[in-house]
C-alpha cells in the first residue's frame, strides 16, 4: 500500500514513531501533545461561553453590542436593513402620538403582502380553467392555505386604510411643506399604486365578486374622454370597443382569460415593482429632506418671512 503512495512514505518520520519522551505521540507526522490539546479545547470552550468574542460572531456583526453611543450608532449604520434610519432622531418623534407609526406600518404590511403573495403564487395559475380551483385547493387542501389567503386579503385591506391614515397625519402636521413638497407627491403616487394593487388582486380568484367588481370598474374606462368608445369625443376620433383604453386594459372587449392574465402580471410583477421603486425614493427623500418633520418648534405669525420670488 505504502509503495503506491510515495508522498506518504516520504513524509513519515518512521524513526520517532515511538514518541519523543514527554508523552507526546506522533501520528502520520503530526506531533500530538495531550496538554496542548486540553489547552486548546479549553480556549474553544471559553469561546462558547462568550460567543460575542468569537471570530465568527465578529465577522458577522462587526460592532460591539454595548451601550456606548458609538456602538449604538454603528449598530444602525453598518446594518443593511437598518441603515434606512439615521443614527439619531428628534427626541419627541419617537413617541407614538406624532406619526401614529402609519408610514412604517404601511411598509410592514407591504412586506407581509410580498411574502404571503409569493407563497400564494406557488399555488396559483392565472388561467380560466385553474384559477378558481386553485383558490378552492388553497382553502381546503394546502396546509395553512386558508390562513395564507386570509392574511394576504386582510393585510391588503389594512394597508389601504393605513396609507390613508398616514396621508391624513402628514397633512395635519403640515409635513408636506417646504422642503418636503416633492415627497408628498411621491406619496400620492404610492397611494394610487396601493389602490391599484388591491384592485388588480380582486379579479384573481376569478369568482363572481371579483368578476363583477372589475367589470363595473373597467366599464368606466369606456367613458374615458377621447380614449373610450363611449366617452365624449371618443367615437368621433374612431374609438370602438376593440381599440379603446378598456380593450388595452382587458386584452379584449370582455373580462375574460386575457384580462385575468393581465391582472395577474400587473398585480404580481409590474405594480409591486413600481411601488418598490417609489418606496425607495420615498424613504430616501425622508432622509434627504432632513428626517422626519417634527414635532418641530412652533413658529409664530409675526415670524413669517416675506416671500422671495
Amino acid at each position: 500500500m505504502a509503495e503506491n503512495n510515495p508522498t506518504e512514505v516520504k513524509d513519515e518520520p518512521s524513526e520517532s514513531a515511538g514518541g519523543n519522551g514527554n508523552g507526546a505521540r506522533s501520528l502520520l507526522g503530526v506531533t500530538i501533545d495531550p496538554d496542548e490539546i486540553k489547552k486548546k479545547a479549553q480556549i474553544d470552550l471559553e469561546g462558547l461561553k462568550q460567543p460575542t468574542k468569537t471570530e465568527v460572531y465578529k465577522s458577522i456583526f462587526r460592532v460591539k453590542h454595548d451601550q456606548t453611543a458609538r456602538s449604538r450608532t454603528l449598530g444602525v449604520l453598518s446594518n443593511v436593513f437598518l441603515h434606512l434610519h439615521p443614527a439619531k432622531v428628534n427626541r419627541d418623534a419617537v413617541r407614538y402620538n406624532f406619526t401614529w407609526g402609519m408610514g412604517g406600518i404601511s411598509f410592514y404590511l407591504f412586506w407581509v403582502l410580498t411574502w404571503t403573495g409569493v407563497l400564494l403564487m406557488f399555488y396559483y395559475h392565472p388561467t380560466k380553467v385553474q384559477a378558481f380551483r386553485d383558490i378552492l385547493y388553497l382553502e381546503h387542501d394546502v396546509p395553512f392555505g386558508k390562513l395564507l389567503r386570509n392574511m394576504h386579503r386582510w393585510a391588503a385591506h389594512a394597508m389601504v386604510l393605513t396609507v390613508q391614515l398616514h396621508m391624513f397625519r402628514v397633512f395635519l402636521t403640515g409635513s408636506y411643506k417646504k422642503p418636503r413638497q416633492f415627497n408628498w407627491s411621491v406619496g400620492v403616487i404610492l397611494l394610487v399604486l396601493t389602490l391599484l394593487l388591491s384592485f388588480t388582486g380582486y379579479l384573481l380568484p376569478d369568482d363572481q365578486l371579483g368578476f363583477w367588481a372589475v367589470t363595473v370598474g373597467t366599464n368606466m374606462a369606456r367613458a374615458t374622454p377621447i380614449l373610450g368608445h363611449e366617452g365624449p369625443f371618443g367615437p368621433e376620433l374612431g374609438m370602438t370597443p376593440f381599440n379603446d383604453v378598456r380593450f388595452a386594459l382587458l386584452g379584449g372587449s370582455i373580462v375574460d382569460a386575457n384580462a385575468l392574465l393581465r391582472a395577474y402580471i400587473w398585480h404580481c410583477i409590474a405594480i409591486p415593482g413600481f411601488a418598490a421603486i417609489f418606496m425607495i425614493v420615498h424613504f430616501w427623500r425622508v432622509r434627504k429632506d432632513g428626517g422626519i418633520s417634527g414635532p418641530a418648534p412652533i413658529m409664530l405669525e409675526k415670524e413669517i418671512k416675506p416671500v422671495r420670488r
Binding site: 411643506k177 400620492v188 363572481q208 363583477w212
Partner: protein
C-alpha cells in the same frame, strides 16, 4: 325595522375595514385635533409674552436645559418599530384565523350580481356614478383627485404649521382637507357600503333589501323644468348654468379665503397661478355636493345637455 339586514351588511368580512373606519377615522381626527389644541394654546401664550417666546423651547413636550435634543435610533426608535410590527402581526393573525376571505361562485358573465359593488375603497367613486356620467365620475374626478392631492404642497402658501399639529394657524387648509377626505371621500364610501342595496337604490339602515323594489321617481333635466326644448338653446342654457355655478362658487371661496386678516396675508403670498389652480380645484370639489343635493332633493339628472356630453 330589519336590523338583521344591517347586521348582514356589517358582518360581511369584506366590510370589516369600513366598520373599522367608522371608529378609526373619528378617533384619529380627535387625536390630532387634541394635539393641535395643545399647540394652539402654546402659540397663544407665546404671542402674548414675547419674552417667553425668546427663551421657550416651543414645544408642548417637556424639555429642560441640558437634555439632548436627539436620541439614538437604537434602541429608542427601533424598539417602537419592533413593537409595532409585533402588534400588527398579532392583529393580522387573529383577524385571519377568525374571519375568512370571501369566495363567491365562479365568475359567470351571464349571472349579474345585484348589487354589484366595487371593492370598498372605490365605493365613493361608484356612488359618484349616481350623480355624474361615467366619464366624470370614473375618469375625470379620479384624475382630478390625484392631481389635486399632488399639487397641495405647491399651492399652500402658508408657512406656519410645518411639522406640528395646529388648527388655528391653518384653519382653511384643515377645513378644506377634512371636507374632501372625511365629508366627501369617507362618507361616500360609507353610503356606498351601508346604504346602497339592490339596483343601487337607497335603503336606510334598518330597511330590508327588497330585490323587487321599484322606485317611481322621475329624474328630469334642468332645462325641462325651465321649459327649454330645442337644442342650441338647451346647450347654451346649461353652459350658462354651469358657468354661473362656477362664478358663484368661486366668489364664495374667495370670500372664505379673504375672511380674516391672516388669510388675506397668505393670499398675498400666492402667485396668480397658485390662486387659479386652488380656485379651480375648490370649485370642482364643491360641485360634487351641489350636484348630489340637486339629484337627491330636486330629482335633477343633468344640468347641462349637449350633443357630445352631459353634465
Amino acid at each position: 325595522m330589519d336590523w338583521h339586514q344591517l347586521w348582514t351588511i356589517v358582518s360581511l368580512p369584506d366590510n370589516i375595514p369600513i366598520v373599522g373606519m367608522l371608529f378609526i377615522i373619528p378617533f384619529f381626527t380627535w387625536y390630532a385635533l387634541r394635539q393641535a389644541r395643545a399647540n394652539d394654546r402654546l402659540v397663544e401664550r407665546l404671542e402674548n409674552d414675547p419674552d417667553m417666546a425668546k427663551t421657550h423651547h416651543r414645544k408642548v413636550q417637556p424639555f429642560k436645559k441640558g437634555w439632548v435634543r436627539e436620541v439614538a435610533v437604537w434602541p429608542y426608535l427601533l424598539r417602537m418599530e419592533f413593537l409595532a410590527a409585533i402588534i400588527v402581526t398579532i392583529i393580522l393573525m387573529v383577524w385571519s384565523i377568525t374571519l375568512d376571505a370571501p369566495l363567491e361562485e365562479p365568475a359567470n358573465p351571464s349571472l349579474t350580481m345585484n348589487p354589484s359593488k366595487a371593492p370598498w375603497y372605490f365605493l365613493g367613486l361608484q356612488e359618484m356614478l349616481v350623480y355624474f356620467d361615467p366619464w366624470i365620475a370614473g375618469v375625470v374626478m379620479p384624475t382630478l383627485i390625484i392631481i389635486g392631492l399632488i399639487v397641495i404642497p405647491y399651492i399652500d402658501a402658508n408657512p406656519l404649521g410645518n411639522g406640528y399639529y395646529t388648527y388655528k394657524q391653518r384653519r382653511f387648509a384643515i377645513w378644506a382637507f377634512i371636507f374632501g377626505f372625511i365629508i366627501l371621500w369617507c362618507s361616500m364610501i360609507v353610503i356606498g357600503t351601508l346604504i346602497r342595496g339592490p339596483g343601487w337604490m337607497w335603503f336606510w339602515p334598518g330597511m330590508t333589501w327588497d330585490h323587487n323594489r321599484l322606485i317611481f321617481e322621475i329624474n328630469r333635466d334642468l332645462h325641462e323644468i325651465v321649459g327649454i326644448t330645442s337644442q342650441p338653446w338647451i346647450g347654451i342654457f346649461g353652459g350658462l348654468v354651469v358657468g354661473g355655478f362656477m362664478v358663484v362658487a368661486g366668489y364664495a371661496c374667495h370670500r372664505i379665503i379673504t375672511a380674516t386678516e391672516f388669510s388675506r396675508k397668505i393670499l398675498g403670498r400666492m402667485s396668480l397661478l397658485q390662486y387659479a389652480i386652488m380656485q379651480g380645484l375648490l370649485i370642482i370639489m364643491l360641485a360634487l355636493p351641489v350636484k348630489m343635493a340637486a339629484r337627491l332633493l330636486f330629482r335633477i339628472k343633468y344640468v347641462w345637455v349637449t350633443p357630445w356630453f352631459n353634465v
